[in-house]
């Protein structure tokens, strides 16, 4: 055997003399006879560059130096290739054989720095560090781990095949369903069109009948109003003269103050203020003024006195009656417009419905109990009005009423046909959206759509719904915080389906919109394994699923779990 002595003036740089004494390595050397004498820190693949009989040329060609300069603890090559076994070159690499475990390349700066980096201790040959060769233990553990992983991957990949099969089946079913729906849609649209025609015809007839009816009704009402006005003036005239006790054609304060009726505050006397109010702040009032301003003020008091109504609120009864009439008309015409416009509203409404699906938080107004009461009241009013319409409807003549009924019938049939069309369209859109989603090269992720997975840490419950959204909820309760909606796959080019992105979540106070990256790891079940927040409002989930278990998968990818951080 060749004995390699000291080279140079330092103890630091030796050949791998220990190889000679290690039977295991000797065996290796026998199988690679030409590479017996590798300088320290050189991998087998690079051993041929180092030939003791020749000057050494740096691998980048930057210099040629005597071979004794190799591993002499002085950096001669710009690429560090003359010092594979010492820390002399700032950009060098040291190779540990790590017999029994995996070989490792470390930066030269970690050679003899007092920290054991190589399990075979070869990096700390001249330092204080007391390293122990634990390659065999590590190797055993690593092999066991690798085997476990391989086993897991094997099981997982079988599950993956099933997932993929299921995913493809889902796709096929959806496609079939889509075909069926598209057929149904044609039929439904034809029906809608037919019903629309019928509706238009019925509404034409109804329209002209109603117009006729309304015109007549108008005239009748006008006559009635004039009669009422005349009666009111007559009443006022009679009362004016009754009050005008001195018959001078004018009302004075004193004339009013004797009437207990005008004691509005019920204090036993009619004060100046009370009387003056009735005379519109004047000392006296003529008949002309009385009709305009005096009578409307006094009449309620008189009527109250007579017990005609219960309180001041009902003073508007007469007016209200008039308004009701008005409402009646409006109600009918509004209803008609609404229905006519339906076809245009379709899209909007659909959008609204979709939005409703997305909204998790109850509408704020609904939470407010007082607002809710108001809604109820409105409802009651509407019901009352409806009753009155029916009452009023009974006033229609028989023919008009028949046309209205027929039109109502046609409208409701059209409505139903229209709803049917929209239902089908919506379903088609949903399926189309689903079919557009990227469920992996073999549809292996498709079965995850619609599923949700939870993870609980010290403070929060996190929920991942693949292809939909990620959320967070405090353990102590409260509303969900959206950490992002499905955006897409963002894995590296060759490994696209390893990372999911959910973005556009709720904004942080003083910060960005929340977003979540989900790293997928191979496992035999679906589970959310960990959650962290490496950046404020940027979440990082680890999700285990068989869908990423590929037989060929090496363990390396698992090692780089936190690369993005």
């Amino acid at each position: 055997m060749l004995v390699i002595g000291r080279i140079g003036s330092f103890e630091r740089m030796f050949y791998n003399a220990h190889l000679v004494f290690s039977s295991l390595v000797v065996l290796l050397q026998v199988s690679h006879a030409s590479e017996i004498l590798r300088p320290r820190g050189v991998s087998i693949s690079k051993a041929s560059f180092y030939v003791p009989e020749r000057d050494f040329t740096c691998m980048d060609g930057s210099a040629t130096v005597p071979f004794i300069y190799v591993n002499d603890d002085y950096c001669d090559c710009e690429d560090g290739s003359d010092e594979p076994g010492t820390p002399a070159c700032p950009n060098g690499t040291f190779h540990c054989t790590n017999a029994g475990h995996k070989p490792l390349n470390i930066p030269s700066s970690r050679v003899n720095d007092g920290i054991c980096d190589c399990c075979d201790t070869s990096d700390e040959y001249a330092s204080q560090a007391s390293c122990v060769n634990n390659c065999n233990e590590l190797g055993r553990a690593a092999r066991a781990e690798a085997q476990k992983l391989a086993e897991l991957t094997k099981q997982g990949s079988e599950l993956r095949i099933q997932l993929s099969k299921k995913g493809k089946q889902i796709r096929q079913e959806k496609q079939e369903k889509l075909n069926q729906l598209e057929k149904d849609l044609g039929e439904a649209e034809r029906l809608k069109k037919e019903k629309e025609g019928l509706k238009i015809a019925a509404e034409d007839l109804e329209g002209s009948a109603l117009k006729q009816y309304q015109q007549e009704e108008e005239e009748r009402k006008q006559a009635q109003n004039e009669e009422e006005k005349r009666e009111n003036e007559q009443e006022a005239f009679e009362y004016f003269h009754k009050l005008d006790s001195n018959q001078d054609g004018k009302l004075q304060l004193s004339e009013l103050q004797v009437r207990q009726t005008f004691d509005s505050n019920r204090d036993g006397e009619v004060s100046d203020d009370e009387a003056k109010f009735l005379l519109n702040q004047q000392e006296e009032m003529s008949w002309e003024d009385f009709v305009i301003s005096g009578w409307p003020r006094m009449k309620p008091l008189l009527m109250l006195d007579k017990g005609l109504f219960q309180g001041p609120d009902s003073t508007h009864t007469a007016k209200q009656e008039g308004d009701n009439n008005q409402e009646e008309k409006e109600h009918i015409s509004e209803g008609k417009e609404e229905e006519l416009d339906h076809s245009e509203d379709d899209e909007d409404e659909e959008e609204e419905e979709e939005e409703d699906d997305k909204l998790y938080e109850p509408h704020p107004e609904e939470e407010d109990p007082s607002a809710y009461e108001e809604d109820e009241e409105e409802g009651e009013t509407a019901n009352e009005a409806k009753g009155e319409v029916e009452e009023a409807a009974s006033k229609y003549d028989e023919e008009t009423q028949r046309l209205i009924n027929e039109a109502n019938q046609a409208r409701s049939e059209f409505e139903e046909a229209d709803r049917n069309v929209r239902d089908i369209q919506r379903e088609i859109q949903q399926i189309k959206d689903t079919l557009l989603k990227d469920y992996g090269s073999e549809e292996e992720f498709a079965p995850l759509d619609g599923e949700c997975f939870e993870f609980t840490d010290n403070e929060y419950i996190y929920k991942l719904c693949p292809f939909d959204q990620a959320t967070q909820r405090s353990k102590s309760g409260g509303a969900d915080t959206r950490l992002g909606s499905w955006s897409g796959w963002i894995g590296a080019d060759d490994d696209k389906y390893r990372t999911m992105l959910f973005d556009g979540g709720q904004s942080c106070w003083n910060g960005p919109q929340r977003s979540t990256k989900v790293k997928l790891l191979c496992g035999t079940e679906h589970a959310l394994k960990s959650v962290s927040e490496p950046n404020r409002c940027e979440y990082f989930f680890e999700f285990v699923t068989p869908a990423v278990c590929l037989q060929l998968d090496s363990g390396d990818k698992q090692d780089n779990i936190k690369d993005e951080l």
Partner: protein, 929 residues
């Protein structure tokens, strides 16, 4: 005229305070006082220059071997004071003026001076009815009696005149006048007779409001003020901390520079507002003389600066002194709220003399451990112990050197310092051991505010032992800070000092180890609910002192006690490391200082240089700024330039606000990662130089980071430069602080000097024909950090970059020998164990390196010191060598003689001697053959 004191304000204030305190700090400038809003400042600033009413009674003169003293009288009110002038070793005079018999003791600053200054002998060389002249060494002081004035001469040259403008003001303690509603006129006459109209007329003299806060001022007006004229000075420097230019600006049309330790949220640049620290030390520099003035006062202080250009009364003094010559002059006017007048005059005559003289008084920074001058990684906050582990491992993965990981307030259990968050940091010892296994350290934050929480041992101890600062009613002061309702330890109390130091012991601070070091933040003190975000001035400390009297030394005492705690923790073996935000004169003895909560923009990067220069010349050499900027997120270019700049500043730490994006170097592009790695490597490769400069600072007081005029004092062009600086006398650094820069304008000082580009070794010659330097456009790309080695110096380096500095102690040295015009160079290298105090027992190597002709020698400066280093000499690079040489010879006792190979690069004039391989622990001689 009689003024009726307004009392409505108090009632309103009580209502507002009872409503609770708002923890949100505001960016608003209006949260901080102007001089006009501060009663003592406006009173003192209104004193008009002219004849001073103060007169010295020379008939009371008493003369000692080192001092003279006499009575000083204010002839406006006949108040009597004691004047004392003493000579101190190292060309220094001390002047003290205090009340002769005050009705309450006046506060005198403790802990700022390293010890009682060593006295020098002084003799009277002249005495007349009008003045007395004393001499100490080469310096003289001429004390004029009426009006009172003290003129200081250095080597026969008048350099400082105090009270030349007659702005001396000493408000003696007095009884609070009874309000006399009817006899207003009488009181006014009294006041006028006493020459105290200003106090009587000032509604803020006996109580003061600012915003919603009320200051009861139970002892009334007590301001002290004095002016100094610096004859021959072109500029004044120092009095940090301000976010302003290095050369102080005239304050004629602005507020004075303010010294009042404050936690300023998102501070503004280029103005004289107060910041976190206060060092009342001012240097006046001109081509002929450099002097320093330490105004030793811990109360709120304002400093007005006037320069010759201001066309004020200043000029008449100049002419008075030096005839009609337009001698340049700088005037300073120091105004403090209370305390005494205690002034030290460091008479130079050169910048390095002043640095030495000043640090003789207040101390130098002790040599830090080697890790402390390497790279620190911080963030508010690393989320948990796994995050710390992950970040640390990423540094290794990306081959980025790192020495220290930092934890901000979130590591604690609900902001209870000395505790750990039970969930996120459940295994602190394990976490720390993971760092130390890679040669790294941990720094955790410990703030002085204490959470008022009945389950917190520290609060319970402090409350039951009376360790808290008291409010004006004598109860424990309560304010709002990070933990919510908090109280503040009273570091003036010796029992608190002892108790607090003990908290740092490994037994008491569970989860800490000897590798856990400390960050004292918020120690201005910051009180979110207090006036100007600090403590009420009428709070009361141990000894009955008001907070107003000691405010500016609160942080100093905080770090002093922490230092003692860490020192005791290792039984005096290991050198403590502490970072502080608040600071005062003397803080350098205990802690490094960073410039607080800066922001991620270019202007903030730019101002790191003047801010650290100001601190450096004021004794605080270990200075740095948050790399990347604390608030907001830097873009790739800014963070790159910041790393490059900070790699050449003394304290090198990346830190960020909790709301910012993560910014560890690998989170940017591949190129940025590469450039940051290069910047870190530059820092690590030059650590032997940094370490040597820190040691030399400890020995001489010379700052590590120096203004150009420190080495080129007569070169007037350097006086206003604050975009470049020197490291020791060896490197010139001009960081790139502008976006998209393609070049920087570098001023190369020193006629006849050669400066060598550290990357290309290209030589820039400064002509010896002119008196000034040379200005050159230096092209820069994103990788370029413009740093130049001065010809004639030798820089020690280590080119092996370990993952942590502490792992590189045994690594070999490279010496960069940069030749001057004579072909000579010299330098020093300091080597020790990098962590312990054994160097104090002579366990170190201090090498004197000299290159002359063809020979480089290494000789021990201290022949008795020894340190068995394994480090050896790897390479000698001779820069500026004229011709090819291929062989060299190394000789030492231990190694004998060896012949070495040398290679010459004729284009770069660079000679590299290969592997001398001699131990650094030997003296040796290397000769070119």
């Amino acid at each position: 005229m009689k003024k009726i004191r307004q009392c409505f304000g108090i009632v309103l204030w009580l209502i507002i305070v009872s409503l609770g305190c708002n923890p949100v700090q505001s960016v608003d400038r209006n949260n901080f006082k102007t001089c006009e809003q501060s009663s003592f400042c406006r009173r003192s600033r209104r004193v008009k220059p002219g004849q001073s009413p103060y007169q010295l009674h020379l008939n009371t003169l008493s003369v000692g071997s080192s001092s003279i003293s006499a009575e000083l009288v204010n002839y406006n009110n006949l108040a009597k004071f004691k004047f004392e002038l003493s000579a101190i070793k190292e060309e220094t005079f001390r002047m003290k003026i205090s009340e002769l018999s005050p009705i309450r003791p006046r506060y005198e600053v403790e802990s700022a001076l390293v010890s009682e200054p060593e006295l020098d002998t002084l003799k009277i060389i002249e005495q007349t009815a009008d003045h007395v002249t004393v001499q100490a060494g080469a310096n003289e002081a001429k004390v004029f009696a009426a009006p009172f004035r003290v003129d200081l001469y250095s080597h026969g040259q008048l350099v400082i005149s105090s009270n030349a403008r007659g702005l001396l003001k000493f408000e003696h303690y007095r009884k609070k006048p009874e309000p006399k509603a009817e006899e207003g006129a009488g009181a006014a006459e009294e006041a006028e007779a006493a020459g105290e109209e200003d106090i009587e007329a000032d509604p803020g003299a006996w109580e003061e409001n600012f915003k919603s806060h009320h200051d009861t001022k139970p002892y009334g007006p007590a301001a002290v003020a004095l002016d100094f004229s610096f004859v021959g000075a072109h500029h004044a420097y120092g009095i940090p901390e301000h976010a302003d230019s290095f050369a102080l600006k005239s304050t004629k049309n602005t507020d004075p520079y303010r010294l009042y330790n404050l936690d300023v949220f998102e501070y503004e640049l280029w103005n004289p507002m107060a910041l976190y620290g206060s060092v009342p030390f001012l240097i006046a520099h001109g081509p002929a003389r450099t002097v320093g003035v330490l105004w030793l006062n811990a109360a709120e202080t304002w400093v007005d600066i006037l320069s010759s250009g201001d066309q004020t009364v200043v000029s008449s003094i100049v002419n008075f002194v030096s005839g009609s010559d337009p001698t340049p002059q700088v005037d300073a006017h120091f105004i403090s709220e209370t305390g005494i007048i205690d002034v030290f005059f460091n008479l130079g005559p050169r910048p390095l003399d002043v640095f030495r003289q000043y640090t003789k008084l207040t101390g130098t920074a002790p040599l830090p451990q080697y890790f402390a001058i390497a790279y620190h990684q911080s963030r508010w906050n690393y989320n948990d112990q796994d995050d710390v582990r992950m970040v640390e491992s990423k540094f290794d993965e990306h081959d980025l050197p790192l020495d220290v990981m930092w934890l901000d307030i979130e590591h604690t259990d609900n902001k209870k310092y000395f505790t750990w968050d039970h969930l996120r940091f459940s295994q602190p010892t394990e976490m720390t051991q993971n760092l130390t296994a890679h040669g790294r350290k941990l720094v955790v934050i410990v703030d002085p505010h204490i959470k008022r929480d009945g389950s917190y041992f520290l609060h319970n101890d402090a409350e039951s032992n009376g360790y808290y600062v008291k409010n004006k009613e004598g109860r424990d002061f309560e304010g709002w800070c990070w933990p919510g309702s908090s109280s503040y330890l009273d570091f003036l109390n010796p029992a608190v000092q002892d108790y607090y130091a003990q908290r740092y012991s490994l037994d008491n601070f569970k989860g800490s180890t000897e590798d856990t070091y400390i960050w004292n933040d918020m120690n201005e003190p910051s009180v979110f609910s207090g006036p100007e975000v600090t403590m009420h001035k009428d709070c009361v400390h141990h000894g009955g002192w008001e907070h107003r009297e000691i405010h500016n030394i609160y942080a100093l005492l905080n770090t002093k006690v922490t230092f003692n705690g860490l020192f005791r923790r290792s039984e005096g073996k290991l050198r403590p490391f502490i970072l502080t935000r608040g600071h005062f004169a003397g803080s350098q003895r205990y802690a490094a200082v960073w410039t607080g909560d800066n922001a991620a923009d270019w202007a903030h990067l730019r101002i790191t240089v003047p801010m650290c220069l100001s601190l450096s010349v004021s004794g605080i050499s270990f200075c740095g700024a948050d790399v990347g900027g604390f608030f907001r997120s830097p873009d790739e270019e800014l963070i790159t330039r910041w790393y490059q700049a900070a790699a050449f500043q003394p304290f090198f730490r990346s830190h960020a606000h909790i709301d910012t994006k993560r910014r560890e170097p690998w989170l940017f592009g591949e190129e940025t990662l590469g450039v940051i790695r290069e910047a870190l490597r530059k820092r690590y490769s030059l650590l032997p130089l940094w370490y040597t400069l820190f040691r030399e600072h400890e020995l001489t007081g010379a700052p590590v980071m120096q203004p150009l005029w420190a080495q080129f004092p007569t070169e007037t062009d350097t006086f206003a430069i604050d975009d470049e600086y020197l490291l020791g006398d060896r490197l010139l650094v001009h960081p790139v602080t502008e976006a998209e820069a393609s070049s920087v304008t570098v001023y190369f000082p020193g006629p006849g000097q050669i400066w060598y580009d550290m990357d290309s070794y290209e030589a820039i010659h400064v002509s010896s024909k002119h008196s000034g330097g040379r200005t050159e456009q230096i092209p820069v790309n994103i990788r370029k950090v413009p740093v130049f080695q001065r010809g004639g110096t030798i820089v020690p380096k280590k080119e092996r970059i370990r993952r942590a500095a502490s792992l590189s102690l045994d690594d070999p040295f490279t010496l960069l020998v940069a030749l001057d015009v004579n072909g000579t160079a010299s330098g020093t290298v300091y080597i020790d164990d990098g962590r312990s105090y054994e160097y104090k027992q002579g366990k170190y190597l201090y090498l004197d390196l000299k290159f002359e002709g063809k020979t480089l020698t290494s000789r021990f400066i201290d022949k008795n010191s020894k340190f068995p280093t394994k480090a050896w000499l790897e390479r000698v690079v001779i820069i500026g060598w004229p011709s090819a040489v291929s062989k060299a010879r190394i000789e030492s006792k231990g190694m004998g003689t060896n012949v070495l190979e040398a290679s010459y690069n004729s284009a770069a004039h660079l000679l590299v001697v290969r592997k001398p391989a001699v131990s650094m622990a030997e003296e040796w001689t290397l000769s070119l053959l």
